[in-house]
């Protein structure tokens, strides 16, 4: 991962976390999305929901102080913030399906120009790992995706049409990669912000769909 251009994993997470608005209920997927909870977003009050029914968890517990019966979606032993609540699994997915999640942040293999995304099954694989991704994708108010801009083989992950089995269709509204911040806009990807050190032409060459540069393109702040 260290050889990749542009933003670090934490910087990608930071950029997405800065979209969170005061009072939002947010669900973070495993991997890079988990890092959104490390971002300093000032005094905005965010409630983090984990699919196993933990509403209002905090940071990872310090070593030696873990409650081994308390984990987040990634299985990490987390802490609870004052005011937290625990519900059972069917209620937890009632929170999701009922539209009570303001934003979910997930990783993905591919995102399409029309806002489809794929994150549960590789090419040629029998079965896969769905977990809570399909419920979150179909039902959260906003679906944000964080992923490396290209595969290890250099192939684009932002594509015209997903050729992997999709998790949901037409739901993604924001994509952060190590190259920039994008919006699937139907006929192309709208580049809203560019990572330091990248050029529009480099991004265009590494993107599978049409790239539309937003008026007033900004550089992503990385501090």
């Amino acid at each position: 991962m260290s050889a990749t251009k542009g933003l670090t994993r934490q910087q990608m997470a930071d950029r997405v976390a800065r979209e969170f608005q005061d009072g939002w209920i947010v669900n973070l997927g495993v991997g890079i999305p988990t890092m959104c909870s490390n971002t300093d977003i000032g005094d905005r009050d965010i409630t983090y929901h984990s699919e196993n029914g933990v509403i209002g968890y905090g940071g990872v517990a310090p070593e030696g102080q873990e409650d081994l019966n308390l984990v987040n979606a990634g299985g990490q032993n987390v802490t609870l913030k004052p005011g937290a609540a625990v519900v059972h699994h069917a209620d937890s997915f009632g929170v999701i399906r009922g539209g009570h999640i303001d934003a979910t942040v997930m990783g993905a293999y591919q995102v399409s120009m029309t806002g489809d995304f794929a994150n549960w099954k590789l090419k040629g694989q029998k079965g896969g790992g769905i977990g809570g991704a399909m419920d979150l994708a179909a039902c959260a108010q906003r679906v944000f995706i964080i992923l490396e801009h290209v595969t290890r083989d250099g192939l684009p992950r932002l594509v015209t049409t997903c050729d992997l089995p999709v998790t949901a269709r037409g739901v993604v509204t924001l994509v952060a990669t190590n190259y920039g911040l994008f919006e699937p806009a139907g006929t192309g990807f709208r580049l809203r912000e560019i990572a330091p050190g990248l050029t529009v032409e480099e991004i265009r060459a590494a993107t599978g769909g049409t790239l539309v540069v937003a008026d007033g393109l900004k550089e992503i702040a990385t501090t």
Partner: protein
């Protein structure tokens, strides 16, 4: 039958009569709430051609705890109904995956919220329901959908169980249960969906009346057998996960 008869003296005794071909659900999400001791007892008991229901088949994390992948490896399983037949990270390997890919064991891959709701529906007498989850994906291919108020929904059926294996922190003699933190997860809905629910309990079972009725998470009417988990090494408890270097 008196309520006292719910307490069993061993996990072996609690699972002794489970017949071949049973459908058994296992609570747990990562380590919390997983009935490790009942899984181990079922491996020793040896029932075969089982259908297992759980969030995941397990085994991707270290240390490896008793998981339903071990029942598969033990040759006891015909089918698994779960939200993961493979791990989320392609670099993690579930021991179950090769049995599924070779066709030795069947699997139904179900989105996690749909799995929880199918269990809830079974326990609540709802035969089927519509959900927006998985619409437009290959899971919905060839299946019944319906447009309600302009949105497309997928028909899903209740999932009834013969047995539920669950784990809770506290119980009273009536089988009323309380869970600690995220130990709760699937356990309450699985308890309602099963004809026979067997609970492993962290703490000594309390006398009737020791849990305030307002504080009960799973009502004792759903719990049929209980076993208290002994201290280590005889009992199996959640462990500290070893973080992998990535």
């Amino acid at each position: 039958m008196t309520q006292r008869t719910k307490l069993r003296s061993s996990f072996q005794e609690a699972v002794a009569d489970i017949p071949d071909g049973s459908t058994i659900a296992f609570g747990g999400f990562a380590m919390p709430g997983t009935p490790f001791n009942l899984i181990k007892a079922l491996m020793q008991q040896g029932a075969k051609r089982l259908t297992l229901v759980a969030n995941t088949t397990g085994g991707a994390q270290q240390p490896r705890m008793p998981d339903i992948g071990m029942l598969v490896e033990n040759g006891q399983v015909a089918k698994v109904i779960c939200a993961f037949t493979a791990a989320t990270r392609p670099t993690d390997v579930l021991p179950f995956t090769k049995y599924y890919e070779s066709g030795e064991v069947e699997a139904d891959l179900v989105p996690q919220g749909t799995l929880a709701e199918r269990l809830r529906a079974a326990g609540a007498g709802i035969p089927a329901f519509y959900t927006p989850t998985a619409v437009g994906t290959e899971l919905a291919e060839g299946r019944e959908t319906r447009v309600i108020d302009g949105r497309e929904y997928l028909l899903e059926y209740a999932l009834k169980l013969d047995y539920a294996f669950i784990r809770a922190r506290t119980a009273d003699a009536a089988g009323n249960l309380r869970y600690h933190r995220s130990q709760r997860n699937f356990n309450p809905v699985m308890a309602t969906a099963a004809r026979t629910t067997i609970a492993e309990i962290d703490e000594p079972v309390l006398p009737l009346g020791a849990i305030d009725p307002d504080d009960v998470h799973t009502a004792g009417i759903y719990v049929h057998r209980m076993v208290q988990v002994p201290p280590e090494p005889d009992g199996i408890w959640p462990a500290r996960r070893q973080e992998k270097r990535r």
